[in-house]
């Protein structure tokens, strides 16, 4: 049964999208939310993939690039529609529904903006069940659906249609995003509703709407479980001035050291490439990607990004269990430690 996400539902949708969102900035989130609010008056239809006609062409919509860049170079307003229209021109057929690549903060709002602008439904699901830094790290890829053709719309009016073989998208996409200013809206993974139904992590938009209600607890946002790794204080943040992980990863590696405030008072080292991909406690591996590792401020409950971590912050380190498909051999290959250059 379909329902709508309008002005009344937007606050819960936005709040739910931030519960485990890494990579967001306050400024870019606020502007994206204000933008969504200005378009959500009529409401966007939320549908299960199975409710669409099986042949309906669907596309994933996401922000690509840097949220700080978005917060400095504001959108012109037509990027989401521009990306989808450009993809349609490449496909030669219209897109009948959009789906989120992931539902973390701005990436939950941009597909909503696209759906509102294009007057098409938003599918109740997403392509990761969490968030990964690379466009091809999705359950769609695991299901054999290619990210390309992929259309990109930049804030200065640039429209780019990219077509290539699977596995090459990230390498080509990253310099394009930098060339258009550091961020862009991407429309990708063109697929039928039938294929989408089998490839997505289903029901995550509904879960997010539920989890974003004021009375909801944080664990209600996670379908596969979570655990607290430690509570402690950030003692050091170390950024590497040198890239040694190959050209496809979008940032420099950095490390965060957290001293546990209770119990064994372990030193927990978090290794990050945009996302935290590895946690070591007194040198022993205690969590790795594809599970999501994030720091949550004990002061205000907000997720602390790697970009913003500073010594002295008190944080809870949380591990969110990834969808089962990420723990398969193929899933680990795509989103496990080796995908980030870590050999354990």
């Amino acid at each position: 049964m379909s329902r709508r996400i309008g002005l009344a539902e937007l606050p819960a949708y936005a709040a739910g999208s931030r519960l485990f969102a890494t990579g967001a900035t306050e400024s870019s989130f606020r502007l994206t939310l204000d933008w969504a609010r200005s378009l959500a008056g009529q409401g966007v239809e939320l549908v299960a993939a199975g409710e669409l006609a099986p042949g309906t062409r669907c596309a994933a919509v996401t922000l690509a690039g840097s949220m700080i860049a978005l917060s400095e170079q504001l959108p012109g307003g037509d990027e989401p529609a521009g990306a989808v229209r450009t993809l349609e021109r490449g496909l030669g057929e219209p897109v009948g529904a959009v789906v989120a690549l992931n539902l973390a903060a701005e990436n939950a709002l941009i597909p909503l903006i696209a759906a509102a602008t294009l007057d098409v439904p938003l599918v109740d699901g997403d392509g990761t069940g969490r968030v990964f830094p690379l466009v091809e790290q999705t359950t769609f890829t695991l299901a054999g659906i290619g990210a390309a053709p992929l259309a990109l719309a930049g804030a200065s009016g640039e429209l780019v249609l990219l077509d290539t073989v699977p596995g090459r998208v990230e390498e080509l996409l990253r310099p394009l995003v930098l060339a258009v200013g550091g961020w862009a809206v991407a429309a990708c993974y063109p697929m039928s509703a039938r294929d989408l139904a089998g490839a997505q992590v289903a029901g995550t938009v509904s879960r997010l709407l539920e989890a974003g209600r004021p009375e909801s607890a944080r664990p209600s946002a996670v379908p596969f479980g979570m655990r607290t790794l430690c509570e402690g204080r950030i003692m050091a943040v170390e950024g590497s001035p040198r890239r040694d992980t190959g050209p496809s990863l979008p940032s420099l590696p950095s490390s965060i050291v957290v001293e546990e405030s209770q119990g064994l008072r372990r030193l927990v080292r978090l290794e990050a490439y945009n996302e935290i991909v590895l946690a070591l406690a007194d040198g022993a591996v205690v969590a790795t990607t594809p599970d999501q590792i994030c720091m949550v401020s004990t002061r205000d409950g907000a997720v602390v990004d790697v970009d913003r971590a500073v010594p002295g912050m008190d944080v809870e380190v949380i591990v969110v269990k990834a969808a089962p498909v990420w723990h398969t051999e193929r899933g680990l290959e795509l989103g496990g430690p080796r995908a980030f250059g870590l050999v354990l």
């Binding site: 990579g23 900035t25 306050e26 400024s27 870019s28 606020r30 502007l31 204000d34 933008w35 609010r37 200005s38 690039g65 840097s66 949220m67 700080i68 860049a69 917060s71 400095e72 170079q73 504001l74 959108p75 012109g76 307003g77 830094p133 804030a155 200065s156 995003v177 930098l178 200013g181 550091g182 961020w183 943040v237 950024g239 590497s240 001035p241 040198r242 890239r243 979008p250 940032s251 420099l252 950095s254 945009n274 790697v306 970009d307 913003r308 971590a309 500073v310 010594p311």
Partner: protein, 345 residues
């Protein structure tokens, strides 16, 4: 000896502080206590209504109306425009600055308080500086507030802060003038909302950092006086002489007493910190050596700023710094935040 002054009552309350101890309260005019003082630290909350009208200039590309300058901010009157220009965080120019559009706006806006915010100015402030030059040439005497001085990434938030600061400048100038008249020849500092002091000159240029300086100072003063300033309490103890300082008899009773105690706490709290300056910048550096060099430049800028905020040059020191690599941007882009502090001369 330092004077602490709390504004906001019909008559300012001043306290005399020696070696960190509150030794006297002067309830009927700070000028009576100025003899022998080496500086005055002022605690004041700035009123946000009415705000002075501001001419806001955003240097950036187009955007939806809801994201426009001053959108959804009816509390700040004035006019706004977007002119072409600005930079990406990588340093590349988004578009050449539309200098003619700036001139037209300045000539036609009818206002003298300007707030200028350019895309990318935490990395490259050139277009903000160029707009300031045009305004100064077109309208000598205009008050110009530039966003890059705060350096906070996030165009809309930085712009909002810049506009609010510009709107507070006439009020700040009036307060600074009145205080200088009351305490002629004495170096005057104003308490920041986030702790620390700035010089009167800096207060006039960027008053938003002091908007709740009175409230913040009162909290600090109360904490330092061990909470003895509750309305029902006797004279503050601890740092005070037995029986309370001279002037305590003005405390009165009831609501007036509570307000008086707040003012005493604020005046005292303002004297307990020194000048502070913060610098935020987006920097690009290829390799560790270049990063170290850029960070040294930012540290120098922070030290210079804290001296210009009133610190004795020998006392200025960097007390906090944070440097984080920026994700999903080209190699070598960092967000640097440096805080410098010092002591009053």
């Amino acid at each position: 000896m330092i004077l602490g002054v709390a504004l906001g009552r019909p008559t300012p309350v001043a306290v005399v502080v020696r070696d960190g101890a509150l030794v006297a309260i002067v309830a009927s005019g700070a000028h009576r206590a100025r003899a022998g003082a080496r500086a005055a630290c002022v605690a004041v909350d700035l009123a946000e209504t009415p705000m002075a009208p501001v001419a806001a200039i955003r240097v950036a590309g187009r955007c939806p109306a809801v994201l426009g300058p001053m959108a959804g901010r009816p509390e700040v009157p004035g006019v706004a425009t977007i002119v072409c220009g600005g930079h990406r965080l990588t340093g590349r120019e988004l578009a050449p600055l539309d200098t003619e559009a700036v001139r037209r706006f300045v000539a036609g806006c009818g206002l003298a308080d300007f707030a200028v915010t350019a895309a990318g100015s935490p990395a490259v402030p050139d277009h903000e500086l160029a707009v300031a030059e045009i305004i100064a040439a077109e309208m000598p005497g205009a008050r110009i507030t530039l966003s890059y001085e705060s350096g906070r990434p996030g165009l809309r938030e930085r712009e909002e802060d810049t506009v609010r600061s510009a709107a507070l400048r006439p009020q700040a100038a009036r307060i600074a003038d009145e205080t200088a008249r009351e305490l002629p020849g004495l170096p005057i500092y104003f308490a920041r909302t986030a702790g620390g002091l700035v010089s009167a000159t800096y207060f006039c240029r960027a008053p938003l950092v002091c908007r709740l300086g009175g409230t913040a100072s009162a909290a600090r003063g109360r904490a330092a006086l061990s909470g003895d300033l509750s309305p029902g309490a006797g004279p503050p103890e601890g740092t005070l002489r037995d029986g309370g300082p001279p002037g305590w008899e003005h405390a009165g009773s009831g609501p007036e007493r509570a307000a008086y105690l707040d003012a005493v706490a604020a005046a005292y709290g303002a004297t307990l910190t020194g000048p502070v300056a913060e610098v935020e910048r987006i920097v690009r550096a290829r390799g560790g050596e270049e990063l170290d060099r850029r960070l040294r430049e930012i540290r120098d800028e922070a030290l210079t700023r804290v001296v210009s905020a009133g610190a004795a040059p020998g006392s200025a020191t960097v007390t906090a710094s944070a440097v984080n690599p920026l994700s999903f941007l080209p190699d070598g882009l960092y967000w640097a935040r440096i805080t410098a502090t010092g002591a009053t001369p």
